[in-house]
């Protein structure tokens, strides 16, 4: 199945093996030789938050690494070489943060997209990933969210817990999320507070909303569209879009 590119500009930059920073409305991707080496988004907690909030790394340890190695763009390397983190640990945490920020940076936007050639990031290269892998994962994540609970309004609204049905249980991770949801914090704020990737938090919130444990805010009424043409007796397509049908079913069931 061929899909429209998430960002045609990213595809082009990857093809020309560009190095620099791709600036979009919701975040920035850093490329080296056309591969993604870092990503940042105001919507996603950075590597520092992920590492320090859980207590894996003391804040001073992070600050020192930035002071000593930031100028040479080798903070990640320094964290390993100074014995603060294991190799695999750094790689996994950094990859998680990159895909998380990229998901938001590549979200649909009408704003301008710019590329600044030659700009690097102070964190340094850990494990470059192909632009194609980043795009593929971003699309997969969007589809996963909608498959779980097709109401994007829960992503940006304050998380308001609802009482559990008798006998209904949640896992430890979701329990901690519900405990931190004070009715005002949004998923992005909860992610930062708990030191978790923002996408993981969105996914948990959508799962909780689907289970009726978090309020789903009413989306604004859509503008009435043009009157659709009458349905023909047979569908004009041989292969109806399963995802669309599933979303339709979920929406109908939600209104039962």
């Amino acid at each position: 199945m061929s899909r429209a590119a998430v960002s045609p500009m990213l595809v082009r930059l990857a093809a020309e093996k560009a190095t620099g920073a791709l600036l979009r409305d919701h975040g920035t991707l850093y490329l080296v030789d056309g591969r993604v080496v870092h990503a940042e988004s105001p919507a996603a907690p950075g590597v520092d938050v992920l590492l320090t909030t859980g207590g894996r790394l003391p804040r001073e340890g992070w600050d020192e690494a930035v002071d000593r190695a930031g100028a040479h763009r080798a903070v990640g390397r320094f964290l390993v070489d100074s014995g603060r983190l294991h190799d695999g640990e750094l790689e996994i945490c950094h990859l998680g943060a990159v895909f998380d920020a990229a998901f938001f940076a590549l979200s649909p936007t009408s704003g301008p997209t710019r590329f600044r050639y030659g700009v690097g990031h102070w964190f340094g290269t850990v494990r470059p990933v192909s632009a194609e892998a980043v795009e593929r994962e971003t699309v997969r994540r969007r589809e996963l969210l909608d498959a779980v609970w097709p109401y994007a309004a829960v992503d940006t609204s304050p998380v308001v817990p609802r009482p559990a049905a008798p006998g209904q249980t949640v896992g430890a991770r979701q329990r901690a999320l519900l405990a931190a949801a004070d009715g005002e914090r949004t998923p992005a704020e909860l992610a930062r507070l708990l030191g978790r990737p923002a996408f993981h938090t969105l996914l948990d919130v959508r799962r909780l909303a689907a289970a009726g444990l978090v309020e789903t805010p009413l989306a604004p009424e859509p503008e009435p569209g043009p009157v659709p043409p009458p349905l023909s007796a047979t569908l004009p397509v041989a292969d109806p879009d399963i995802a669309l049908l599933r979303r339709l079913r979920d929406a109908l069931e939600a209104h039962l």
């Binding site: 894996r56 640990e89 790689e91 996994i92 998680g96 494990r127 030191g195 993981h200």
Partner: protein, 123 residues
């Protein structure tokens, strides 16, 4: 200390290995894959097996079992699929996924080797 690439390479040397992936089980993303080829889409397998792990974790919580899952074995007609959960420090769990050719693999040996790879990865 091993990184993800060396761990996956080591997993690929296990007798009968068809493919392996290191998977983040909250998001269902494969952080790295090796092998697989046309017969086995490891990115798809990563996402799908995330549901397997989540279902088992949920069931154990419902049963009130205060234990960790070490591994999950799925036996097919011609393959074994092994899922080994990593006991990391982070809050977001990971698992190693290994697909084996049933005719060539030694299951006990493969489980033992996967355990060793987990210990070396040390996340």
């Amino acid at each position: 200390m091993a990184n993800t690439e060396t761990s996956l390479k080591e997993a690929a040397t296990i007798e009968g290995a068809i493919g392996a992936a290191l998977v983040d089980y909250t998001s269902g993303m494969a952080l790295g894959t090796i092998g697989g080829g046309k017969e086995l889409d490891l990115n798809m397998a990563a996402a799908g097996n995330t549901d397997v792990v989540r279902a088992k974790v949920r069931t154990m919580e419902m049963l009130g079992l205060q234990e960790d899952i070490e591994d999950i074995l799925i036996t097919l007609g011609t393959q074994y699929h092994l899922i080994r959960l990593l006991k990391g420090r982070g809050t977001n769990g990971l698992f190693l996924y290994l697909a084996l050719d049933k005719n060539r693999a030694n299951l006990a040996m493969a489980r033992h080797q996967l355990k060793k790879i987990e210990a070396e990865l040390d996340v």
